[in-house]
Amino acid sequence: MLSIKNLQVRVEDKTILKGLNLEVKPGEVHAIMGPNGSGKSTLGYTLSGRPGYEVEGGSVTIDGADLLELEAEDRARAGLFLAFQYPVEIPGVSNMEFLKAALDAQHKAQDKEPMSSRDFLQAARAACKQVNLPAEFLKRGVNEGFSGGEKKRNEIMQMLMLQPKICILDETDSGLDIDALQVVANGVNSQRSPERSFIVVTHYQRLLDYIKPDFVHVLSDGKIVKSGDSSLALELEQQGYAWLQDQPAPAGEE
């Protein structure tokens, strides 16, 4: 589904990703962990096409097609979703208006009929309920005056509505209390399916108690230095990242 080969990315004059390899198959959940500055957020931004993230080498394909060729909006329409670490406010544009426009744009690109206002409203209310946001949030400006936790839940609500194929969660757990963490995790787990894949970027093992990954990768200095199953996360939690610095990269990932 998503195939990242030897990806090298520069932001301004600094190379952040230095040859990253990752294969994500349908239905898989991959956790990316790593210390601050290792390039975790850069991966999410690069895949979603944020301006300023210059690809210097390597390739990314989605279902065999070149992802890096696409504009950001076309990647979204192809089913790639990024849950932002710091969702930005858009004052005066209601959540509802924003979501309907996004959904309409995606449906149009996929040659689907636009959703009727009634069905949309019903789905949006249900999505709010699922992430424990009052339905009034649909009428409020996008992230306008939302608390940190509300913004994160709002991201998951959008994911529930947009039904993407690949979801990248960028430190969605940061700043969440345990209840909110559970709400977010439940939202994600409800969307797990054989067709949908997740890349969960996180700093802490805590989130992975709730979202059980199929694979855990450790990112360090722009490369994946170790991959394993969910037990790797526990190991990291106990020992920190320092012990990995000396590890050779796994075979086949250089």
Partner: protein, 478 residues
Amino acid sequence: MTEQIDRALQREYSAGFVSNIESETFAPGLDEDVIRRISAMKNEPEWMLEWRLKAYRGWLEMEEPTWAHVHYPKINYQDISYYSAPKSMKDKPKSLDEVDPELLATYEKLGIPLLEQQMLAGVAVDAVFDSVSVVTTFREKLAEAGVIFCPISEAIEKYPELVKQYLGSVVPQRDNYFAALNCAVFTDGSFVYIPKGTRCPMELSTYFRINEQNTGQFERTLIIAEEGSYVSYLEGCTAPQRDENQLHAAVVELVALDGAEIKYSTVQNWYPGDENGKGGIYNFVTKRGICHNDAKISWTQVETGSAVTWKYPSCILKGDNSIGEFYSVALTRGMQQADTGTKMIHLGKNTRSTIISKGISAGRSNNSYRGLVRMNSSATGARNYTQCDSLLIGDQCGAHTFPYVESRNPSAIVEHEATTSKVSDEQMFLCQQRGLDPEKAVSMIVNGFCKEVFKELPMEFAVEAGKLLEISLEGSVG
């Protein structure tokens, strides 16, 4: 990202076509003789001519103002033609059937069908083409309610007492240079009279179109709302795309008697000139209303056109407990310059005013808010709230704020809030990441920024205004 937005901002001016209509146009130039000829064309009574001449003599002694934050080459007032009217209008068509089809087609093309059965239900329109009113719809229906809605030239003839009493009562002849010029040479515009205790049964609207080359449009609007009455009025304006600048100097006077309410909305889309600032309308307009006891005047404007805008719709809150409101969206792009805002003059006790101004600057344009809030010594308990927000798109435009506050009454409260923000890369990226193209993203962000003002517009026009902004921001995005 900026490049994407820039592309999104380029657009065609869809109202820029020229209608092929045979007109009777005065040769350029201005002197007393021209004023006498305008007055004669309109079959005006002697007192009206005298009033014009007095204004003209006053104007000759006045200086063009230079304090606004706008720059334009000196206007030669002798190069302008002060009267132009479609020839077919000479015999004053009695009904729509007699109106030149080409004129009707012009308005149709602008999205303003003048045939009553095709119109938005509940909106009466006065269509002013260059110097004359060509059609006023739904007059009979309005007359049933006692409402007078007609061209001002007709009001001078039919209701001279009302015109004499109120014309120049809110904006004195020598109020300012452009107002004085307007008093001397005004040609047409709308006259509205709402009788005591009457709620006007329809939205009233005037649509101004400049067509002829080298002519100025000098319209005059007078709205009188008797005690306890209510009216909502909307004006729209467009002009052909021409390389030379054209002058539009209008005067609007509103009189809200005790307990009356006037809601005045403007959607201004005069030709703004091309990307390099060639051509476009100079929009130098004086708009002012007076509120008697418990009266309310609300100005709402959406300004997207004109090369240069100089406009300050104002309220004189003379009566106790009267209310003045000003809601404004001004969008400038390309080389446009706008210096716009309001004046709230508090004279009565417990008078209240609200100012919400949203300025959006893009391209290489300059957008200034200029507002005066004056609390006179008599204005005990008066309050004002001003909110002034600027949104910048790109890095070559300017947003400026010139607030003036004068308080001579210690019990008066004046609040002023101002913000400046940019359409940020983060906002654009969030929109795109959810599947929206940059064009839609910009227009959505800008619409959100303007929401507080749009909700003040009459419903049909709020949609129009949203679309107008969308068209203003429209372009081909690769």
